[in-house]
C-alpha cells in the first residue's frame, strides 16, 4: 500500500506519518494520537485507530491483542452545543 494512503480521514494523517512515528519508537496509541492527532476527529478514531493498532502490531511484532487502544472519550457521536445547552433545565 502507498505510504501516501490516508489512515485518519478526519485529521488527514497518512500511513507514512504513522510509519515514521512507529520507527521513532512511538508505539503507544495514546502517544501516536498526541503526536499526529490521529483519532482526534469527529469519528473518534473509529476508522483509523484499529488500522493504526494493526500497523503497530505488525511492525513491532506484538500480538494485536496487546496493543492497547486509547481511552475512549465521550460523546459517542458529535452533538451540537445548542442541543446540549437546551437540555440544561430538565435535569
Amino acid at each position: 500500500m502507498s505510504d501516501k494512503a490516508i489512515v485518519c480521514r478526519c485529521e488527514d494523517v497518512t500511513l507514512r506519518e504513522i510509519h515514521n512515528l512507529i520507527a521513532a519508537g512511538t508505539v503507544d496509541l495514546e502517544e501516536i494520537k498526541q503526536a499526529c492527532r490521529c483519532g482526534m476527529g469527529p469519528c473518534q478514531g473509529r476508522n483509523c485507530l484499529p488500522l493504526v493498532a494493526q500497523e503497530v502490531a505488525r511492525l513491532t511484532g506484538k500480538p494485536a491483542s496487546e496493543v492497547a487502544l486509547p481511552t475512549f472519550r465521550p460523546p459517542t457521536s458529535p452533538i451540537k452545543l445548542g442541543a446540549l445547552g437546551k437540555g440544561a433545565d430538565h435535569g
Partner: protein, 382 residues
C-alpha cells in the same frame, strides 16, 4: 542498586521536562526524569492550553511575562526544531460585578507597571474584539494582546528532546514507589524497575505531588481537583482571543487547529484524582457558553475529558526545597496555571538547585509560607 545520578526529576509533564532541561543546561551532571505514564499524560496534556500575562499578583505577572518571552522563541532557545503552535490573539477577561471591575482595575495598574500591555475595554469595545459576544450584563473587560495559546504536547516534546540532547535520561512508564532518605538527606528513588541512588529529587508530580512528598516524609498542602474540558469540531476562524469569565467560571478559545477548547471550574468539585468526564459538565458548559457566545450553538462537541489541577491553599505553586529533608525540591501546586509558566519555572528551579542567583524572586513560593501564614492569594483564576 544502579550507579548513582546527580538528580532525579519525578514527573514527565511540561514542568518536569522544563526543569530537567534547565538542570542539564546548568551543567548539573547526570539527570534522570521518571514518568509513570507517557510524557504529558497528566495535567499538561489535559490542560486548556492558554497562556496569559493578565494576573493579579506581581510574582505571577513576572513569571508569565518572562515565560511568554520564552514561548515566543522556544525552538530557537532550546536549539531544537519544532512548532509549538504559539499564537498571540489575546485574552478578553470579562467583568460582571463592581467588585470584579475594581479588582481588574487594580490588576491593570500592577500589570502596566510591569510593562504588560493590558488595557480596559468598554462593552462595545469588547464587541469589536469578539463580534459575537453577548454583552448583556457586561460592565467591561480587560484585554492583553500578548496572551494566547500554545500546544502543550508540542512544548513538552520540545523540552524533552532538548533535555535528551543534553544527556538527560527520560524514562517513561517508570513509576516511583518510594523515596529513601538517611539522616535527613535524600538517598535514593525506588521505582518499579529498580532503585536509583541520588542526593537530589525534584517533585514535579502535579496532582500526585502530595503522594510523592509523603514518600520522602515531606507533607505538602497540594490537593488534586478535577477540571473538565470539551472540544468541538474544527471550523473556520471565528474567535481570535481567549474569552474568560470569572463570573461564569469559564474559559473558551479557538485553537489554531480550528477547534474550540473550553472548560469550567466547579466550586463543589471534591478533592481527589478523578479523570472521569461527566455528563453534568457537558450540559452546564454547553448552556453557559452558548448564552455567552450564541454562535457556538451550531458547533458539534466531539470530545470531552478531565484532568486534575494540583491545588495549593493560595492557588500559587510551591517552588523550592524542604526544611526537613535535604535534597528534596518541589515544583507543584500550580492550581491550573502551570503550563503557561513552565518555561520560567524550569529555569528558576535549576538556578535554585544549583545555588545560582535566581533570575526572578522566588522566596514567596517557598513551602514554609503556609506555616508562617504568609499566603499570597492569586485573585484571578478559573
Amino acid at each position: 542498586m544502579a550507579r548513582g545520578v546527580d538528580a532525579v526529576v519525578i514527573g514527565g509533564g511540561v514542568v518536569g521536562c522544563s526543569i530537567a532541561y534547565h538542570l542539564a543546561k546548568q551543567g548539573l551532571g547526570k539527570v534522570v526524569l521518571l514518568e509513570k505514564g507517557y510524557l504529558a499524560s497528566g495535567a499538561t496534556g489535559r490542560c486548556g492550553a492558554g497562556v496569559r500575562l493578565q494576573w493579579g499578583t506581581r510574582a505571577n505577572c513576572l513569571l508569565s511575562r518572562e515565560s511568554v518571552r520564552m514561548y515566543e522563541q522556544l525552538p530557537e532557545l532550546l536549539d531544537t526544531p519544532g512548532d509549538i503552535e504559539f499564537k498571540q490573539n489575546g485574552y478578553l477577561l470579562l467583568a460582571y460585578t463592581d467588585k470584579m471591575v475594581e479588582q481588574f482595575r487594580k490588576n491593570l495598574t500592577l500589570q502596566n507597571s510591569l510593562n504588560i500591555p493590558a488595557y480596559w475595554v468598554t462593552p462595545s469595545e469588547a464587541l469589536s474584539i469578539v463580534p459575537h459576544l453577548n454583552i448583556q450584563g457586561l460592565l467591561g473587560a480587560t484585554f492583553c494582546p500578548q496572551d494566547g495559546h500554545c500546544n502543550p504536547f508540542a512544548v513538552t516534546k520540545l523540552y524533552a528532546q532538548a533535555a535528551r540532547r543534553l544527556g538527560v535520561d527520560i524514562r517513561t512508564h517508570c513509576e516511583v514507589t518510594d523515596i529513601l532518605t538517611e539522616n535527613g538527606r535524600i538517598k535514593a528513588v525506588r521505582t518499579n524497575t529498580g532503585d536509583i541512588a541520588t542526593p537530589l529529587v525534584v517533585n514535579a508530580a502535579g496532582g500526585y505531588a502530595q503522594t510523592v512528598g509523603r514518600m520522602a516524609g515531606v507533607e505538602l498542602p497540594i490537593f488534586p481537583k478535577r477540571h473538565e474540558i470539551l472540544v468541538t469540531e474544527p471550523v473556520e476562524p471565528l474567535l481570535g482571543p481567549m474569552v474568560m469569565s470569572f463570573y461564569h467560571n469559564l474559559y473558551c478559545q479557538q485553537s489554531p487547529h480550528g477547534s474550540f477548547i473550553m472548560g469550567m471550574g466547579r466550586e463543589c468539585e471534591p478533592e481527589g484524582i478523578n479523570h472521569q468526564a461527566s455528563w453534568q459538565f457537558l450540559r452546564e458548559m454547553a448552556a453557559t457558553v452558548t448564552a455567552l457566545l450564541p454562535r457556538l450553538a451550531g458547533l458539534n462537541v466531539i470530545r470531552q475529558w478531565a484532568g486534575v489541577y494540583d491545588m495549593s491553599p493560595d492557588r500559587q505553586p510551591i517552588l523550592g526545597d524542604s526544611a526537613l529533608i535535604q535534597g528534596f525540591f518541589t515544583a507543584a501546586g500550580f492550581s491550573g496555571h502551570g503550563f503557561m509558566i513552565a518555561p520560567m519555572v524550569g529555569r528558576l528551579m535549576a538556578e535554585l538547585i544549583t545555588g545560582k542567583p535566581t533570575s526572578l524572586p522566588v522566596d514567596m513560593f517557598d513551602a514554609g509560607r503556609f506555616q508562617r501564614n504568609e499566603l499570597f492569594i492569586e485573585p484571578s483564576v478559573v
